[in-house]
């Protein structure tokens, strides 16, 4: 039969069962561990100033997160997702970006946002507080900042990062796009579709997966049977690497390579940061229902802030006194931010009619009518 002959010819002398060579392997990278051991061959060349800036941002994020938890418990802000434990994964990656590059967060990126807004730390915190207090005004940014707003539907933002990067490539702007998502996000279709598109179109996208071991109550092992999340990149013909996400140096080094590749036009990379969500999923969550304290304690020993402080102390860039001084500075900045937030929310609280803004470029007539109706309702309500 002609069909059979054709198949036969195709297979020819190659007929065999053998392993197919795949272009990439999955590496694991760790440079400075929790015991204070440094792999000097792998140590990235980072300027002292940059190291100190990254440390400062991590510290600020930690303290700000703690403060927000406190404020949420007092009812001054609403539900938010805590970043504690993931500061190195975020700062180590975002700090490799240039100002003109893009950052596309999900909902837990307090540290990455703090880095991007590090020129105005107080204003950046005020906006996060406003957002977490239910004021959409906190979600605004200047277009040239190239920071996308928070995206809550898990994994949905990953596709946008591919589109943004396509835009950059199309206009030869040279900007790369970094997108954040979690371990749970790798189960959603949007993640897979984004990885495929990014790879097929060879967009300058950096897929940063923060594997913090949990997606609310679902542990990493029940999220997927695959040994690493990074290996999912292989399915899309994209390099993937797993790094110790609590090791700022490892995250930084892996990101540097990925960004260099993207800038050369060699396409996207997926970086899996192995880290841990030390605190609550969100303030509405009770993790004691699904995980053991011992596990949290084990990971607390590997946490990223102490780790980078140890490294900086070894390098004699930091000592306890300097840390104390930094703590005080940060405390004062947070205090300023909270005060400014209280003032601003006081001003904003009666501006409910802004809900009709930014629905369309121009408000349609029927909507203007609804706005006028609501204005009367609200006036009636406030005069009673």
């Amino acid at each position: 039969m002609p069909v059979a002959t054709h198949l036969h010819n195709l297979q020819g002398e190659d007929m065999a069962r053998k392993t197919i060579d795949l272009p990439y392997q999955i590496e694991y990278l760790s440079i400075f561990d929790e015991e204070g051991n440094l792999d000097e061959d792998l140590e990235p060349d980072i300027s002292d100033d940059l190291l100190l800036d990254m440390h400062r941002c991590m510290l600020l994020s930690r303290r700000f997160d703690e403060r927000m938890l406190n404020m949420q418990r007092q009812g001054r802000i609403g539900t938010f997702a805590l970043v504690q434990g993931q500061e190195a994964s975020q700062v180590g990656s975002v700090a490799v970006l240039q100002a003109e590059d893009w950052m596309v967060p999900s909902y837990r990126e307090t540290a990455a946002i703090a880095w991007r807004g590090r020129q105005q730390p107080v204003e950046t915190m005020v906006k996060l507080l406003l957002y977490n207090a239910g004021f959409y005004q906190g979600s605004a940014s200047e277009r040239e900042e190239h920071n996308f707003p928070t995206s809550v539907p898990v994994s949905s933002q990953i596709l946008h990062a591919v589109g943004l990067a396509y835009g950059s490539k199309y206009r030869e702007a040279g900007e790369v796009v970094m997108v954040y998502f979690g371990d749970g996000a790798t189960s959603e279709g949007d993640f897979h579709e984004a990885m495929n598109f990014g790879s097929v179109f060879q967009t300058p996208t950096i897929f940063v997966c923060q594997n913090n071991q949990w997606a609310i109550s679902i542990p990493r092992e029940e999220q997927t049977e695959s040994k690493t999340l990074a290996q999912k990149a292989l399915g899309y013909g994209m390099p993937g690497i797993q790094v110790d996400g609590n090791d700022l140096l490892a995250v930084y080094a892996a990101t540097q390579e990925a960004i260099a590749r993207a800038r050369k036009g060699d396409g996207p990379t997926m970086i899996e940061c192995v880290t841990y969500r030390l605190s609550l999923h969100t303030t509405a969550d009770d993790p004691t229902r699904y995980r053991e304290d011992e596990e949290v304690e084990r990971w607390a020993e590997r946490e990223p802030l102490t780790r980078i402080q140890n490294y900086l102390k070894q390098k004699e860039l930091l000592d306890d006194k300097a840390i104390e001084k930094l703590e005080d500075e940060i405390k004062a900045q947070i205090k300023d931010a909270v005060e400014e937030f209280e003032n601003r929310s006081e001003e904003l609280k009666d501006q409910a009619l802004t809900m009709f803004e930014h629905i369309y470029a121009e408000i349609p007539a029927y909507l203007q009518e609804q706005r006028d109706e609501l204005a009367i309702e609200l006036e009636g309500a406030s005069s009673e």
Partner: protein, 321 residues
């Protein structure tokens, strides 16, 4: 209402081995609102499935299970995250019976919290019942309190067709009500008169039943007006007989819901009244709904949400017309 729903799930899983529950965090965590609490301990991991995070997969897999003969109850944590499953619901859950000419059918339930009022994040407060009610082949049910929630959930599980079951977060724990131990079901597609009156008909469902009933009480006390109050319970099929019979009696109607006003369930009620009770109307029918905007983040959600005062104002204007 959380306990009443939990009770329905326990009782139905006890009496029917084909009933399964699946969704992210429905097992060990007992669901983010604890509606599925205690199920995994009692019925095990084969029947209470903590899935990876993928709403499309949860619903798509449930369709296969249902076609096989099981009765899956899926959960998406908030209705705002059910859109990943939109394609499965629209293209398959709703259509498999039709496409297979009756050979396969999809006796599944999608339970999902909806509605505003609990100071939640973006995508956690919408009322998009119209999406599902607009899809032929799907049923759309919204209880308004513990007792009817339990009865309707039982009926939804037993229904041979796919049911989207919206649970108003704002009344999950807002008030309690006696729920009898004995089994109680309620027919899907049937509205309920919750309060009788001859002067005006107020029609609502879900979380908005509370301000609506409150407005009816105030009308009785302050204005001497007796409002009839109808709880739709099912958005699809929509029971226009009950609604039209009432309005034929009162001649005046206000429809209350918290979905964006245009193209909403309230609009459909008005349309049916115009078709079925036009000659009895003594005043234009009013809708008290949310404006056609995104649910604002929570700082302004109370300004966004219809409340008792807005229902009262519309009712009085209708009475004066």
């Amino acid at each position: 209402m959380v306990e009443a729903l939990n009770m329905a799930l326990h009782q139905e899983m006890d009496s029917d081995n084909d009933v399964l529950v699946l969704g992210a965090d429905v097992g060990v965590d007992g669901g983010v609102f604890r509606v599925t609490e205690g199920l995994i301990e009692k019925f095990g991991e084969q029947r209470v499935i903590d899935t990876p995070l993928a709403e499309g997969a949860i619903v798509g897999t449930a369709i296969g299970m249902a076609a096989y003969g099981l009765k899956p109850i899926c959960e998406t944590q908030f209705s705002g995250f059910s859109y990943y499953a939109f394609q499965q619901l629209e293209s398959h859950a709703a259509r498999l019976r039709w496409r297979s000419r009756g050979t396969y059918h999809v006796p599944m339930v999608l339970r999902t919290p909806y509605a505003a009022g609990i100071r939640a994040l973006e995508h956690h407060s919408e009322s998009r019942e119209t999406y599902w009610a607009h899809t032929p082949g799907l049923k759309m049910v919204i209880p308004s309190g513990p007792r009817n929630a339990r009865a309707l959930l039982l009926s939804a599980i037993r229904d041979p067709d796919p049911v989207v079951f919206y649970e108003a977060k704002s009344i999950y724990r807002a008030f309690s009500e006696d729920v009898p131990d004995e089994e109680e079901t309620m027919p899907l597609g049937k509205a309920q008169v919750q309060r009788e009156g001859a002067d005006l008909t107020l029609i609502s469902y879900g979380a908005m039943m509370r301000p609506t009933l409150e407005a009816a009480e105030i009308l009785a006390e302050d204005d001497g007006i007796q409002a009839e109050v109808i709880d739709l319970l099912s958005i699809s099929p929509l029971d226009h007989e009950t609604v039209a019979a009432s309005v034929s009696k009162t001649g005046r109607a206000v429809v209350v819901n918290e979905a964006p006003r245009s193209f909403s369930a309230a609009s459909e009620v008005v349309a049916r009244l115009v078709e079925k009770a036009f000659w009895y109307l003594e005043a234009p029918i009013r809708r008290v709904s949310a404006p056609d905007v995104m649910v604002p983040l929570f700082a302004y959600e109370q300004a966004y949400l219809p409340d008792t005062k807005r229902v009262l104002r519309a009712a009085r204007e209708t009475l004066e017309a």
